[in-house]
Amino acid sequence: MELLAFGKTGWGDELFIATLMTLAVSITAMLIGFLFALIFTPLKLSKNKFLNLIANCYTTVIRGVPELLVIYLFFFGGSGAVMFVASIFGYNDYIEINAFITGSCAIGIISGAYSTEVFRGAIQSIDKGQFEASKVLGLKKPIHFFKVIMPQMLRLALPNLSNVWQITLKDTSLISVTGLVEIMRQSYIAAGSTRDPLFFYSFAAVLYLLLTFLSMKLINRLEIKYSKGY
C-alpha cells in the first residue's frame, strides 16, 4: 500500500494526476470526434454521390485500420504536416507538437468515425413523419434540425454513444506509446522504477474499470433524462 502513498514516497499522486490526464484526453478526443461527426454525418446522409463517397472513405478507413497505426501516423507525421503548412506561410523553424494535442487528435478522428455511424443510424431511425411534419409546418431548417430532429436523435444515439465513449476511453491507453503521461505511461514508469509491474498494471486496470463504471452510471442517468415521455 505504501507504493500508492501520496507525496514523494509513493506513486499515489502521480497516478491520480495521470487518471485526470486520461479523462482529459478522452473528453477532448470525444469532443473532436463530435466535431468530425458533425461534418461527416450530413455528408453520409446527403444525396450527392461524391460527398457520400468522401464520408464513406473516412469511416471505412478509420474503422478498418488499427488505432495504433493511426497514432503512429499522427505521432511521426504530425509535426511534419504542421511544419509543411507553416512553411507555406514562410515559417521555417522546427515545430514540435505537444503529445496531448497529437494524441487527442488521433483518438478524436477514430472516435469521430464511430460517432458518425451512430448519428447516421439514429437519424435514419427517426420516423419519416417527423421530417414531413416539420416541412408541412414550414419550420426553418435550423429550427427543424435543432428542435425536432436533434432531441430525438440524441435519445436514440445515447446508448450507442456510451459504447463510443468506452472505446475512446480505452483507446487513450494507446497514446502512452507517444510518451504522454496518462495512466498507462505512469504505470510503466512506476513499474520500471519499483520493479513491481504486476501491481502497477493491475492497479491501472482497476483505474480503468473505475472510470468505465462511473461513466456508465452517469450515462444511465442521462439516458433516463432523455427518454422522458417515452
Partner: protein, 223 residues
C-alpha cells in the same frame, strides 16, 4: 510521395502480415472456445458460476487490451511460482503472452455476443423440442447452438475485425507484426504517410475479406 519506399516496404509488410494472421487465427480459435464456455456459464442458474462468468467478461471488456497484455507479459513474470512452473515456458515468450491476452479478451466479447444470442432464442422452439421428448442435451446442441451461431454471426464478424485491429498491440511487446514492422519502417525513414498507406491498405484488405466471408456465411446459414 515516395513511391519507391512504398514498393520496397510492401514485401516486408506482407511478410509481417503472416504473423498478424497467425496471432489472429490462433486467438480467435481459443477465444471462441472460451466464449462458448463462458456464455454457457452465463446462462447457468447457479449464482456463483454465473457471477464468475460475468466478472470475467466485465474485467476484460472494461479495461484496455494494452493493460491486459502488459499484466500478462510484464506482470506475471514477477511471481516466483509462475517462473518455476511449466507455465513459464509460454509466459516468457511475447508471442504466447500476446496470444493469451488476445484469447482472453476476445473470449469475453464472444461470450457476451453468444449470451445475447441464447437469450433471443424464442422459448417456443425449446418447448417444442421438449414436447417432442428430445433430451435436453440434444435440444442444446441441435437447436439452441445452431440458432445462436446464426444469430450472432454479424456481431461476431465485427468482433473478428476488432480483434484484427487488436493484434496490432502485439507490437508493444516486441513482436514484429504488421504494425510493428510499419512502425519500424516509419521510425527509420521518417516517411509516415507512405508506410501508413501501404500498411493501412493491407489491413483494409483483410477487413474487406473478413466482412465478405461473414456475409457469405450469413447467406449460407440464413433461414
Amino acid at each position: 510521395m515516395d513511391f519507391d519506399l512504398m514498393i520496397s516496404s510492401f514485401p516486408k509488410l506482407l511478410n509481417a502480415t503472416l504473423i498478424t494472421l497467425k496471432l489472429l487465427s490462433v486467438s480467435l480459435v481459443v477465444g471462441l472456445n472460451l466464449g462458448i464456455l463462458f456464455s454457457i456459464m452465463r446462462i447457468n442458474k447457479n449464482p456463483i458460476i454465473n457471477k464468475f462468468a460475468y466478472g470475467y467478461s466485465y474485467f476484460f471488456r472494461g479495461t484496455p487490451l494494452l493493460v491486459q497484455i502488459f499484466i500478462i507479459y510484464f506482470g506475471l513474470g514477477q511471481l516466483e511460482f509462475i517462473r518455476s512452473s511449466f507455465l513459464w515456458i509460454f509466459l516468457k515468450e511475447p508471442y504466447w503472452c500476446a496470444i493469451i491476452a488476445f484469447s482472453l479478451n476476445t473470449g469475453a466479447y464472444t461470450s457476451e455476443i453468444l449470451r445475447s444470442a441464447f437469450e433471443t432464442i424464442k422459448p417456443g422452439l425449446i418447448e417444442a423440442g421438449k414436447s417432442l421428448g428430445i433430451q435436453s442435451k440434444i435440444i442444446f446442441f441441435k437447436i439452441q447452438i445452431p440458432i445462436a451461431i446464426r444469430q450472432s454471426l454479424p456481431a461476431y464478424g465485427n468482433e473478428i475485425i476488432l480483434m484484427l485491429k487488436g493484434t496490432s498491440l502485439a507490437s508493444t511487446v516486441t513482436l514484429m507484426d504488421l504494425t510493428g514492422v510499419a512502425k519500424y519502417i516509419i521510425s527509420t525513414t521518417f516517411k509516415p504517410i507512405e508506410v501508413f498507406i501501404v500498411a493501412g491498405g493491407i489491413y483494409l484488405f483483410l477487413t474487406f475479406l473478413i466482412h465478405n466471408l461473414i456475409k457469405l456465411l450469413e447467406k449460407k446459414y440464413s433461414f
